[in-house]
Symmetry: C2
């Protein structure tokens, strides 16, 4: 059946891309965890609005270049950043608790 | 200043990873747009719960392997799938409108 075979071919590519996305995201969170530890140690605020605005501008431009919907790219970055800020707050409170103990 | 230099080094890596993520996402949506066109043409439903459940199981396993939070990996996939289903519904309604005209 043509349609089943075609769907399978596309889904195989989607599965490969998803594996790559997961591995890149894992590396990205390793970097942001390190950023979180530095921020906690040097008492810098967990969120950084100027950096976030620059990231959004850059990602929208990259999205246009690669023909991804820039609105979706921005929502994607906000989704990731929300998780990063959650991690940073957790690291900061663990850091403060460790200092108190 | 050590902390500024370290932050910059980490942010440079984050920016590189974000560029790779955007380009992979662009390719992933190319695949799912093709899936959407096939589904519209062969009148298959836009969402596919069995496929989605298998994807979630697989991504959680990949996340554990690469040390990404599996709960976050599942939320990430749901975030992407919501956008894909939105595209599929749009393709299906455009397809139906083109047939009517």
């Amino acid at each position: 059946m043509f349609v089943r075979k075609e769907l399978q071919r596309l889904r195989d590519s989607i599965d490969n891309l998803d594996a790559a996305l997961v591995h890149l995201l894992a590396e990205r969170f390793k970097c942001t965890q390190e950023v979180g530890r530095l921020k906690a140690e040097y008492q810098l605020p967990p969120a950084d609005p100027a950096r976030e605005a620059a990231q959004i501008r850059r990602l929208r431009a990259l999205a246009e270049e690669s023909k991804l919907d820039p609105v979706f790219a921005e929502r994607f970055l906000n989704f990731i950043i929300a998780e990063v800020v959650r991690h940073h707050e957790l690291i900061a409170s663990n850091h403060a608790a460790a200092k108190r103990d």
